[in-house]
Amino acid sequence: MRILVLFAHPVETSFQAALYRTVCDELKGAGHEVDALDLYAENFDPRLTREERMDYHDLSKNQTNVAAYVERVQAAEAMVIVTPVWNFGYPAILKGFFDRVFLPGVSFEMVAGKVKPKLKNIRKLAVVTTYGGSFWRAFLVGDPPRRIAKRFLRATFSLATPVAYLAHYDMNRSTDASRTAFLGKVAHRMAHF
């Protein structure tokens, strides 16, 4: 499969960067074609601009500034997102990717006033993520990033899209053993993606 791997962490020596490398290596090792999109390395600007907001519903113009990203999303057959959870949400650089690239005519179309999903090319989704807080704290807050993945993104692709959500909670108290175990789990899941 052609797999778009979205990565959203600024520090090369972070545990997140290790997860990103593991994901890419394992997917390639399993024979997939990997399109690695490191948002920080590409200097992606997540701010939807005034001009983009004005042209948002104009299908002839709205992709102008992000055409290359639209192409990569449309060419993917699966998506893997590697990201930390900050403040119970995605980092701005990843949130902005959805704000600016998931446009009318790209991820959805309006048919008789109703939103119709359009990214049926993406048949599988995996999210590999780390939380500072514990599972229960995230649960009490309502775990927004999990819901975004399992409900919003799934609905955008197709309700039948399988979503693998791999999370290491409580990073503030993680140990070498817990991190190694999580890397192993991610490697195994990616090898069998």
Binding site: H9, P10, V11, E12, S14, Y40, D45, P46, R47, L48, T49, R50, E52, R53, M54, W86, N87, F88, G89, Y90, P91, A92, I93, K95, G96, F98, D99, F102, M110, G113, G133, R137, L140, V141, G142, P144, P145, R147, I148, R151, F152, A155, N172
Partner: protein, 195 residues
């Protein structure tokens, strides 16, 4: 009370700008002292850099890039957020403001060993969220309102323990009418007057 209005929309002619103006006027009419933080107008950069991430947990350097913003949120008794809900969440601009400004040691303390994280923003006693959603009420509930929860649960936890929250949303913005928008502004006025 001292109210900080955190506003996030790129277009000055948007309905969100009208909501912002209604909120400010209402708060002032009710005797509050108001300051406005307009993130787009300020050209705020929501992307946490590598250097900032490395310093994030270090109390000697994590304040430097956002000292002026920290001063604003420490000044406030009340936070009023005005923004459009995009993809069920906060615009990247606003999400990045939370990530970069609400830093450890200043807005919360990480536990030593076991135990919960502790908020340090006890000055904030009220939070109001005023937003517009393209989705319907039901769709928002089914997805679980991630944006609302990020602020009303996640951020609120760092504020005064009995901090009040108010959430006002105009749903189905794409099908809104002059009448529905007018009605919503009136509601914003009514609710904020009794905050």
């Amino acid at each position: 009370m001292k109210a900080l209005v955190v506003y996030c929309h790129p277009c000055e002619e948007s309905f969100n700008a009208a909501v912002r103006d209604t909120a400010i006027r209402t708060l002032e009419d009710n005797g509050h002292e108001v300051r406005l933080l307009d993130l787009y107008k300020e050209g705020f950069n929501p992307v946490m850099s590598a250097e900032e991430r490395r310093c994030y947990n270090d109390k000697d350097c994590n304040i430097d890039p956002v000292a002026d913003q920290l001063e604003l949120i420490r000044w406030a008794d009340m936070l009023v957020f005005v923004y459009p809900t995009w993809w069920f969440g906060l615009p990247a601009m606003l999400k990045g403001w939370l990530d970069r400004v609400w830093i450890p040691h200043e807005t919360f303390q990480l536990p030593e060993g076991k135990g919960p994280l502790k908020g340090c923003m006890e000055n904030v006693k009220k939070i109001a969220i005023v937003t517009t959603c393209g989705a319907t009420w039901l769709q928002s509930k089914v997805v679980g309102e991630p944006g609302r929860k990020t602020i009303a649960r996640g951020l609120r936890y760092l504020c005064c323990p009995n901090c009040n929250t108010l959430y006002l949303a105009h749903y189905k913005m794409d099908a809104s009418t002059p009448q529905s928008r007018k009605g919503f502004l009136a509601k914003v006025e009514r609710k904020l007057a009794h905050l």
